[in-house]
Symmetry: C2
Subunit: 254 residues, 2 copies
């Protein structure tokens, strides 16, 4: 079963399309956890590890997926990346889907590197390693198809998925994404149509592709239009719930 | 002195505008180094650490800057990030400028996280930590100004710089970046003009801004046009030299 089918099946079983964000912020960790640890980076990672585990333990039977935000782990240095790795592993062990929000994207050979890190395998001679084993990765489309293809190939090979940025939830998303092209479409509509095209060989039994899209709920009109124009594309919808209070709720929708 | 002035001064002193890529690829490490180490991820990092140090030792007095490609370190898991951290530190200690090619970019609060990780500081209560201390970071413009602003603020505060993707060197960069807007400009021309605008408060004594641009040498016509349209923007130019053979040479130009 391909990644998007497995995710949709889980959403249906739980009757819950919510994703819980793991946007690690030291100031927002509960005092009862913080007080047990120091404030050097390694100790902060230990505190966050206890918090992430407790959070996952509390929600894994009612919420189908977690979405760690890579930036907040990268901020804590290499120890933060080990925390990210084991948080993803812990959530997977609890049968939650892991959507890593890292918005990676580069030229082909470099995107292949990112894809090996998160979706595929790192090959060293005859051995293969999963450095960070996630189910879905968010990807930036600015470099066009040769920056996307290595991810799509790994989606096919390893039953993984990607969410490509189409229309983001932030106020200044309009600055580039809403520019009108000479044919009357906007840039984000063009990206939406490219995403549909890039995903056409990975459509599963529910009619949706493992090559999915990020479309912000903060733009309800555009969301509705894209929903109609991209009938086979699954949406990750930031801005549903309390994003502005940074509590990290998202929706996945089909 | 602001970051771009320090870099230009160094380029002038060395009379060399070349950047050496640190695109770690296990298969391309010399046999005399590989044979000393195992092939698990930790050993690969140890081998690459020896290689990176030897490379930096060999070039630091003739080449002003190194450009590690983050993807190839992320592929090696948390140990790869420690390798990246100490490689950046080693190059800085040898007075090379470090341009981390990570193409980060997100909504404002998340870009602030990335910026803390690489350009600024991670604040935990009363302490501040430099997780990865680089001089310049490559940044993706797709989310517009509120995804760029946190980086620019740290450029100002910590004397750092960013290179924003304008026209990338890969073949499919045309897919999005060359689209014609209704006013006749292309998307990359619009991005170029936004980059000029975002950088206008960080122009140094040589007339260039610490908010710089990535413009591929594989598109000489567009490169020439952008050079004329962006008189205060410093360019990182991938595709100069032997990028197609993946040996990782780049130029920085003004």
């Amino acid at each position: 079963m391909i990644a998007i089918d497995k995710l949709i099946k889980k959403i249906k079983e739980m009757d819950n399309p919510t994703v819980i964000g793991l946007d690690l912020r030291y100031n927002m960790l509960p005092e009862c956890i913080k007080s047990k640890y120091g404030t050097d980076l390694k100790s902060v990672c230990d505190a966050a590890w206890e918090y992430n585990k407790k959070l996952i333990d509390s929600v894994y039977d009612i919420i189908p997926a977690v979405k760690p935000q890579a930036a907040f782990y990268e901020m804590l240095g290499p120890d933060g990346m080990e925390l990210l790795r084991k948080t993803c592993e812990y959530a997977s062990d609890k049968e939650m889907f892991v959507i890593l929000d890292a918005k990676r994207g580069d030229i082909g050979s470099t995107s292949a590197g990112y894809s090996s890190a998160y979706l595929g395998k790192t090959k060293i001679q005859d051995s293969e390693y999963s450095s960070y084993n996630v189910d879905f990765l968010t990807v930036n489309p600015y470099l066009g198809v040769d920056g996307i293809k290595p991810f799509v190939e790994d989606c096919e090979k390893y039953d993984k998925g990607i969410f490509i940025l189409v229309k983001t939830s932030n106020p200044s998303s309009s600055e580039l994404q809403d520019l009108k092209l000479e044919n009357g479409d906007t840039v984000y509509e063009k990206v939406g149509s490219l995403v549909s095209d890039w995903g056409k060989d990975l459509i599963g039994e529910y009619g949706y592709s493992s090559v999915a899209a990020v479309v912000g709920a903060t733009h309800p009109k555009q969301l509705k239009e894209l929903r109609e124009k991209m009938p086979h594309t699954f949406f990750l919808i930031p801005g549903y719930g309390a994003q502005r209070r940074k509590s990290g709720r998202y929706s996945i929708s089909f």
